[in-house]
């Protein structure tokens, strides 16, 4: 299983994104980070931490579960339902510039679901997308505003992101 990003690389990539966020967004006060469950959440928290380290500003951070908004839910009558976890956004998103965070951008359907979910919570000023890996093969007109690494892949391959908070180590690998 080829490892395409190791722990060190992931750390430096996130740091670069944190700086990009501050560079492109004049007013930090309007920002809020929302991580998409499951692995978008620790990534969002790390970015919040890095921003805090750079300019001592606390960016509100939340977690979003998009299972109930997927477009493929209820499609097949047999089989177990995907597990639903709770959404935890402990602040108002009205007029905020939301930074949506996910680990892998692929078809774009997860992001579509996340946008639907987010709109139910309020009316943000804008929504931008941060992903650690963009592996191509978009099926919807979605693009990321901040990309950690572009990783062209074949459809038959899968991209596995491991993060210390969940998997015990930081690593991105491609599997056949």
């Amino acid at each position: 299983m080829p490892v395409v990003m190791d722990a060190d690389r992931i750390g430096r990539t996130l740091a670069r994104i944190a700086h990009e966020i501050l560079e492109r967004n004049r007013s930090v006060d309007e920002l809020a980070l929302v991580g998409i469950r499951t692995r978008g959440v620790p990534l969002a928290r790390r970015l919040a931490g890095m921003i805090r380290d750079i300019n001592r500003h606390e960016v509100p951070t939340g977690a979003l579960d998009i299972t109930l908004y997927r477009d493929d839910v209820m499609r097949h009558p047999l089989g177990a339902q995907p597990v639903v976890q709770s959404t935890d956004i402990p602040f108002s998103i009205d007029d905020k510039r939301i930074l949506l965070v996910d680990d892998v951008l692929y078809t774009g359907r997860t992001i579509r679901a996340a946008l639907d979910a987010l709109i139910e919570f309020g009316r943000p000023r804008s929504i931008q997308l941060i992903v650690l890996v963009d592996r191509g093969h978009r099926e919807l007109p979605i693009k990321a505003d901040y990309v950690g690494k572009n990783l062209p892949t074949a459809s038959s391959q899968s991209v596995q992101v491991h993060l210390t908070e969940i998997d015990g180590q930081d690593e991105v690998e491609i599997q056949e």
Partner: protein, 307 residues
């Protein structure tokens, strides 16, 4: 999980925990400004209630609407039963309109099993005679878990008309499956024969049942039971079996007091106990929506892995 939810009898402990965990996520939806998710959009759910019910039917209806399903309430008036249309015929007529789910409450035990044999729709049992009321037991377990993380370490006392109660049967099955120490108490005239075989303690002494209990669950007494000579009078019932503040004090200091509702003040439960600090009766009602949302979601469909 199977196609239908006919009773706790068909659920494994894993199934139960899955429902409770999902209900946790569903509860959060009720706290949002927009209390809706699109998950069951386009699905039709029929609430077929042969017995009157405000609480359970409303709870299901809210749960269904929060998941964006289209709901249809059919309250079968007694007169149409007298007119003679059988349950089977009513069900087949409804089935012809292809609902995705039917939530059935009926006065006869086994009515949901009959429907399950006839209909392709998923059937959810909202109470069949004296048999089971699975979503009530699930929301009771959910409520208990909010106060006590480990159900298998709890002593739980259930007091009242055990014989006629579907809430009792579902709760006994669920709580014993999760390993709790269950104590049943009530008049000897109202004890289902052989119930000890389900792994519960049975006593006519309420004091013994509630001693050091973590949870006390009260069951309704119906006034008509006096006609069947089950007990002499409501006054005597309250003296011997009623939940008074003195009795509650025999339980653990952090005991929670539950009741499926509606309560008979001064019969099975003293007013001050129902309104007192131990009572979680209103929480149960609130939790009902989340638990029912979880059941509807888990029964409604499947998805392949991917994306």
């Amino acid at each position: 999980m199977k196609k239908d939810l006919l009773g706790i009898a068909d659920l494994s402990p894993e199934d139960i925990y899955q429902i409770l965990d999902t209900a946790e996520a569903m509860r959060e939806i009720g706290e949002r400004p927009i209390k809706k998710v699109p998950t069951l959009r386009g699905k039709t759910i029929v609430n077929l209630f042969y017995e009157p019910s405000t609480r359970t039917r409303t709870s299901f209806e809210i749960a269904e609407k929060r998941l964006s399903a289209d709901t249809l309430n059919i309250a079968v008036a007694t007169s149409s039963v007298l007119k003679g249309e059988t349950l089977a015929d009513t069900a087949m007529n409804i089935e012809a309109m292809a609902p995705d789910m039917i939530v059935l409450r009926h006065a006869s035990a086994g009515a949901c099993h009959l429907l399950s044999r006839i209909c392709r729709s998923r059937i959810i049992n909202a109470g069949d005679g004296m048999h089971e009321h699975p979503t009530q037991a699930l929301l009771d377990a959910f409520t208990i878990r909010q106060h006590n993380q480990y159900i298998d370490r709890l002593k739980i006392a259930i007091v009242g008309d055990l014989l006629h109660s579907r809430v009792l049967r579902s709760n006994v099955l669920l709580l014993t499956k999760l390993g709790a120490d269950v104590w049943l108490s009530g008049p000897p005239t109202m004890m289902p024969p052989g119930i000890e075989r389900l792994g519960v303690h049975v006593t006519t002494s309420v004091d013994e049942a509630v001693a050091d209990a973590d949870v006390i669950m009260m069951l309704r007494i119906q006034q008509e039971r006096m006609q069947g000579a089950f007990f002499p009078s409501l006054r005597e019932y309250f003296t011997v079996f009623g939940m008074t503040p003195e009795r509650v004090r025999r339980a653990k200091p952090r005991v929670i007091l539950m009741h499926p509702g509606p309560i008979n003040r001064g019969v099975e439960i003293a007013s001050e106990v129902a309104d007192g600090p131990y009572s979680v009766i209103l929480e149960q009602v609130a939790n009902g929506v989340a638990v029912r949302m979880a059941v509807l979601y888990l029964l409604a469909g499947g998805v392949e892995e991917g994306d």
